[in-house]
Symmetry: C2
């Protein structure tokens, strides 16, 4: 029989917890109401994707849903609409007070969408709400951390299989296709949500040998030439040969929440410097995992990483060789590029419940990319907890 | 060795042809210049993805590139910048005249991006340019049609293998994973570009039995419950059983340009009505392919389809049963939802070089989805040419 899950899918307690994160930040900025339309934000606040709008009021800590599709969504605070212009009459009818200052998703919604919504609420003061949603979403609830941890366990199981997937003569793309299949068989959803419009990736960034040093237009930590000029990142058809490294950074979305993990594999021997750089990456991760506590500045973690890299005289190779990425870590959750950002000019301060992917990587010319990436949870008073536990050593294919 | 394709990748003739499409439409609207930032539009005008901006001037039919990454992009009309605020000084230095009216991508770029760019050009009149890029891109050049045709040939080869991929006991997801692998092995890029922010899909929409009738929040022709509430469309783990149809609508992006094709498979017998609806879909495609010529209104094609459906008394099942889609076809190219749109209120008029996916589909309760989808080119004076040539009959798995 056709199925219909025609309500909000979060438990009342979980919805209330997430809503309280957002409402507290709205109150700090004196924002009375917010209209939410972005899929990632809607998923955060409902546990599902709807075509429509969520209306949040900070004074009453309430949320209403104005839904175009699915048109059978139910609930006492759910209203079926055809277009956003239908909203004001419904508000009047149900005596819902918005207040004066209304936040819209100015960073995520198109100019045309915001222009249209601003007209719907033209007698109010309009401001941005995206930074508040990003800040709220950067502090994960225990239920969200469970979902991320579950993705980590399943992603780790697939990573353990990678050496068995290699066959002599394979290109990076051949290996990637087999990894993609194993990820999908293990329940990976495939979808890879990225905030903003400019970054694109399909399933994995797999870098073999010197392809790791090909710059990409996208703002990922690593580049790669890509298989086609329409998607210039990652694997490019390089045959995997002895003496090259194979860096695997593949999709960890098994639960609507992602983990981000990178591991390195190789055929035969690689130069001592490449091994030293790989160990340096592990040392950076372990050091940062120890010192990253609530209240620590994100930029301090970046500085600490650079300090370790300088001690090893590896600056020239850190975060790329021809082109260097400007960050070594990022929040991760519903999207791959959440807060906090671990970068030199980051203004983020760590909080309990942040989930951070650390990826201090190196590109060694003639060999390829080395280093690891792990996803960690910031805890109240212990070292960060690692959610991606595949072996960190460079493994032989 | 690391590679660098550090120029625009279109031939001068092809660039000139595409630019002339855009410039003609800009002149019609008295738009002097346009600043382009969207990946799909940048790919159309350069044959590659860059992080930066293209500046088009309609008076001189010229284009300049302002590029952040890759930072080694070369060419006499290419300038490396850090931020859009760097552009005016470069324009002054090179005596580049913009004119008064400047188009920005107001439908595709975020409000915050447009706000920032509007400040950079604050002494000019700002207008929207997205409808012009969409209109220009809807009329494909011969080179673009070759790329789309090439995708069609490769997608067709994979579709021919589908019956051999089925194993007894498979779910829709199991079959989808094997189809994904074959697509990737045949060179499918995976990436599935969709205009706008609200629609999401991973690789394929595969619908088995009554899952075809589960509504989705996304604006695709068909729905499906999906494997997870974070991506509610398509396959949901239904085991493929006798008497059900298996509708396969899978990614046809092999060249940066996509074809869109749907075929139906089955195990054992299906009701006569389902076969009749499938034949009706084929009849609609063939009839429309005959009558779709330059100058024909897109909405007339929709009306013709409805007429054929009514003659067969199949209205209740057309384009869904519980929830009906409001269109039967769409342009396709760099993105899956281009112009013209074949819908009752479409204002599009067909032009030579349009590439249109027609997908008149039916959902038969208890059986599943039937019907075909083909991608066609509108030619000057012949029937539309079909680019997706897998057998149209319902094939046994």
């Amino acid at each position: 029989m056709p199925r219909s899950n025609n309500t909000i899918l979060l438990s009342p307690e979980e919805l209330s917890l997430r809503l309280s994160h957002v409402v507290r930040l709205m109150k700090d900025d004196s924002i009375d109401s917010a209209l939410i339309n972005d899929n990632a934000n809607i998923y955060y606040l409902t546990g599902r994707i709807i075509d429509g709008y969520l209306l949040l009021n900070s004074r009453s800590s309430s949320m209403w849903a104005f839904v175009r599709r699915p048109s059978d969504l139910e609930g006492s605070t759910t209203f079926i609409i055809r277009k956003p212009e239908d909203i004001p009459a419904i508000l009047d009818e149900h005596n819902i007070q918005l207040g004066e200052k209304i936040g819209l998703e100015r960073d995520n919604s198109s100019w045309s969408t915001i222009h249209r919504l601003s007209k719907v609420f033209e007698d109010r003061e309009i401001c941005n709400i995206d930074h508040i949603l990003m800040a709220a979403r950067s502090v994960k609830t225990p239920a969200e951390i469970k979902l991320i941890a579950n993705s980590g366990i399943r992603q780790t199981e697939v990573y353990r299989k990678i050496p068995s997937l290699y066959q002599p003569g394979m290109t990076d793309l051949d290996l990637q296709i087999e990894i993609e299949r194993q990820l999908r068989l293990a329940g990976c959803l495939g979808q890879f949500r990225i905030a903003g419009d400019s970054m694109e990736l399909f399933m994995a960034n797999i870098l073999v040998g010197d392809n790791a040093d090909n710059p990409s237009p996208y703002d990922f930590a690593m580049g790669g030439h890509g298989a086609h000029p329409s998607l210039p990142v990652g694997a490019d058809g390089t045959v995997i040969k002895r003496g090259h490294t194979v860096m695997v950074d593949a999709n960890g979305n098994f639960t609507g929440y992602m983990t981000d993990m990178t591991r390195v594999f190789t055929l035969g021997e690689i130069p001592e410097m490449a091994r030293r750089a790989h160990d340096c990456s592990r040392k950076i991760c372990h050091t940062i995992a120890e010192i990253a506590r609530p209240g620590v500045e994100a930029k301090y973690l970046y500085e600490k990483a650079i300090e370790i890299v300088r001690d090893e005289n590896l600056e020239d190779y850190f975060m790329g060789h021809r082109q260097h990425a400007g960050f070594i870590g990022h929040g991760v959750g519903i999207q791959i590029n959440e807060h906090p950002v671990i970068a030199p000019r980051s203004r983020d301060i760590l909080r309990e419940g942040n989930v951070i992917a650390l990826e201090p990587k190196f590109v060694i010319p003639g060999t390829g990319a080395v280093g690891i990436e792990n996803t960690y949870v910031v805890t109240a008073d212990s070292p960060m907890q690692c959610l991606t536990t595949a072996p960190e050593e460079i493994l032989s294919l």
